[in-house]
Symmetry: C4
Subunit: 348 residues, 4 copies
């Protein structure tokens, strides 16, 4: 089976993963409208490609908060990588490093942060965290991440409670006994996420700031109002995200929300996006609409499910090639030439 | 079979109800466009969810004309509950009381108002009525309802004649011989609805007002013009409704009509809605667009068909959980925080 | 098989007519986009129904150029009725008279005008004509129709050449040997329509006017420009029509074109419509948008195919009942109450 | 099997061509959205047909840069015609000459330019070229074409790199050993297109101009900005093209882009279009929106696959008949009467 595009990896994962694991990764909340909209929305955006521009020397590198990556696609935080591949997040870390991009490790990793760090020393990584009722748990994780060389903290802000994913309820989803949320072991019982703190507010950004010197990126923003609040509370970056459509069903596609967030932010902080990226041209659309970088969630898991580190490198390599080609065909030789003029946005 | 969402109850009812009963409950007029639009219209409305708001203490209660209910979902008036469950409306009344919400009992109940009252003493109930050529029949029913402690009168105003529901014509639908429209027994022969009075006008609101001290809620309004007339004629509430798409096919989805009605009413009376509610997030959308409360019709019947009172409690419980979760994920801790800012409405 | 709505007659005709006849009646030009749009366009128009209006006394009569008909649905000119029923246009004439409506007899009838007249003496009929290269043929037909008591002339203006209907080409469609275009017998060979005159212009309206005292109705107008020209050239009526989607594929649905024609005409002449009428509510939409009356083409043929005169009476009876009910449910007791306020038109 | 419309030729080709050849001709980039949009976009454009205009004398001829053709449809440059028919481009040349229209011969022909010229002496032909890293190759081809009587040069400007066509990757597409890119033989190894020069810019138009007296037409323009640049750089014509959807997926349908290009050009140079033409009415729409002529790509290959020269003549003949008929039914007797008033364009 030739792996030509990301859909091939999706088909592979659907075929070979245990149903309960596939369902968990694929799940969206309720009717999965938002999950599906994340993808459909790209199809409504049209390029305005330019021709006869010298695209012989392509440079697709960009920087995330000053750190260079090979192309503007990183790994979004997703949990339970051992469900996809025995080595779990260690393979993810190795692939990200090999491809010279950023990996946002999830709190819900099935490897410890130490294991992740040791697997790919010197890799560019951020650490994703939730806020727990027991703030000491969050504090310990933040300080551990900083000590291990993680270069940013990504606060997931759209999960005061877990969304309703029907298949997980039907399947009675839980981690197999031999897998652990190792970063939380001993902290508390976490099979359910009931230790999440739904009372978190913007003031907790100040608390988080007090714990660390790392830049703080806030994930889950979908409106201009919250984008403005994020900037005012001193974050360094924003991830426009709807948690892959797994939280509130009926919210906007992230590529649609990006436009309003970018307009509100006006360049004061970097804006990223996750959700729905399936082709290099999707990346180009997101950048044209103002994202500095995008992050892939499910496609990374499909890559792991295919061949672990190698599979994820394949996925990233395909996206890299497609992105470079799309840029060239749109008439851009480097990322600074990508702009709003490159796309026509539909009226909503 | 796990009952995870309302569609599961729908599938159950379709499988286990006699076809003629399923067809009757499911029927829409003509091509069923309006029935189906009631549902599709919700999918076109997008949330603008807010994050990092303290949603640790969720309060989803609201009040209908001053009476508190546990959450803003009541039971719409539908007929012939014995077609769904042997105990009929008695089970409905018990479930509504158990879940602490409002039940609008239909004139076309297969139990008497006394039986309904006795089944769940002290429950919060309104009585739905039509206007008959023989006004004495309506008068008797109104006074009986008031005497039995019903707290409101819901006048259905969109049925001067019965809509054309093709399957009912094909099936030759009529009540089985052992079921009776008990509230109309002796009044006249009612297998057909030919005793409905199509000459009713706004002036009949004054006549109805003269019969009772109960608040009058008018059901079936879809335009700003009629909303204005309703307010001027002194009603206490409006149900935006197209009779579940069973009357005039080609009319608007109720969620679409809600916007124009709410704008016209400007808070002078309470505005409710029925039609198309299938998820907790639908309730949230309706409230964001100005409804004080919504009412469920067919889903209540599916609940009855599943397990009578218990099945209907299950349906209401699922909606309650979903509504609470949607509110929290949208950043609202109580219903007063829900507003127009929470949704993006499509251009029509 | 219960005949509940027009689709039932369509299904019957499709099942029982010879394929070549069904294909001929069903045919649209090229991809059949316009044929199908004629129907789809109705689904995009929404009613704004009004309630609590006295609809106890329904009056659905209207007048065509001063002649009363029982309701605003007539029979559009279609050819070759013997393909649908042995008695052909004689049955059509009888059904139209029985239902007290207007029948536009086609030049391409398989009965003579005399036979049609004799079959239903005193019926309200118009005569449809094309313009032939040999003007004497047209002249003879016009004068014959006038002599026989036809009350109007409908000039079909959208057929300088016959549209390309792929199935007719594939089937090698032609009339069976025992059927004749009796009104043209002897005039010339007419199996093909090659005797049509594609050089006809607006000036030919004056020529037609010189031949007859009958009112002239022009059929095939789809733009405001041509509507204005029609009024200026002194016609008495306009049929907004795209020939059932059988001529230029890619033109507008007639209900969409109606709006611009009605605005241009400003009441100076009567405007009618054919194409896509399948339900009583479609008739109501057309009247709300300014049509004085609509005409049915294919549904009349399905009625004939079902049971000749009786089948066509059934079709008309169903439309009449549905139209009356739709009017009542929209809050109109007679046709003069129908207006633009009754519908919401989509943005195109 | 009756060949009634172009879809019949498509079905034939799909059935009888080797899969690898069919896939190559059918391929679009990535998800094939742009390829499919090319066709779908026509369906959104509606005619505003005019009636009662004298269309007895139809004249469908037009001129390309002063040279008359029988109707405004030419043959777009596509490669590898021997994959469709043994005689390859020789048959194409003969059919184009027989139908008196323009054939744009591709650099990637499987016959030499000499063979093409000799096959149909005196035919109206343009030569399509790419720009190679080795400019001498381009120069040789240009001068050879001019010497052979080609009357125009079409510079393809949307292929700095080849688009990603998934099926070709899966099939490992390459020319069969017995076919050659004869015009490039000896120049370099060209199985891959890696000798294309992605550094080409607008200045290279001046270089090309220095090589030849032939008019230069630039193919691949999709924006008003590039249309303006093309005019300023002195080209004689523009082909609005997205390479049949084979290059950047996600770009606009050519018929949609045509509008903005025509507005920018304001008649200073001729504007043509390729992509998505499947019916005579598509040609009429393109002309109504400002194209001087359209070119067919895949349909020409289907014609070849059917019966070589004869098959392509059939395809052109059908388009010609359909175009003439559409014009007449829209009320135009010659191409100068076709204009913007003839169509209603959807809001995007």
């Amino acid at each position: 089976m030739a792996m030509v595009c990301l859909s091939d990896f999706e088909a592979y994962a659907k075929k070979y993963l245990p149903k309960i694991a596939w369902d968990f990764f694929a799940a969206g909340a309720d009717d999965c409208s938002t999950r599906d909209e994340n993808i459909l929305a790209y199809k409504r955006i049209r390029f305005r490609p330019r021709i006869l521009r010298d695209v012989s020397m392509m440079d697709i590198r960009t920087k995330l908060l000053g750190t260079e990556i090979s192309f503007p696609v990183g790994i979004a935080p997703t949990g339970f990588h051992q469900l996809a591949w025995p080595d779990g997040e260690k393979s993810t870390a190795r692939a990200a490093k090999a491809m010279n991009t950023c990996y946002i490790a999830s709190t819900y990793s099935t490897c410890t942060l130490e294991e992740i760090s040791a697997a790919a020393p010197g890799g560019f990584r951020w650490f994703q965290l939730y806020t727990y009722r027991n703030r000491a748990v969050s504090q310990r994780l933040v300080q551990q991440a900083e000590a291990l060389g993680f270069q940013g903290l990504v606060l997931t802000a759209d999960l005061p409670y877990t969304g309703k994913r029907r298949d997980d309820v039907r399947n009675g989803f839980r981690l197999p006994p031999h897998m652990k949320l190792k970063n939380l072991e001993g902290a508390f019982e976490v099979c359910t996420m009931s230790f999440l703190d739904p009372s978190v507010t913007w003031n907790d950004i100040y608390w988080l700031r007090s714990l660390t010197h790392l830049p703080i990126i806030i994930k889950g923003i979908l409106t201009k109002e919250d984008a403005e609040l994020a900037v005012r509370h001193g974050v360094q970056g924003i991830v426009v995200s709807n948690h892959g459509g797994r939280q509130l069903d009926g919210g906007p596609a992230t590529i649609d929300a990006l436009v309003e967030v970018v307009e509100a932010v006006q360049g004061r902080v970097e804006v990223y996006l996750d959700g729905g990226i399936r082709k290099g041209s999707d990346v180009l659309k997101a950048l044209a609409l103002g994202a500095k970088c995008v992050f892939i969630g499910r496609p990374a898991l499909w890559g792991l499910a295919y061949k672990g580190e190698e599979g994820l490198r394949d996925v990233l390599g395909i996206l890299q090639d497609e992105f470079r080609l799309s840029m060239a065909l749109a008439g851009c030789a480097n990322v600074s030439e990508i702009g709003r003029h490159l796309v026509q946005f539909p009226r909503l």
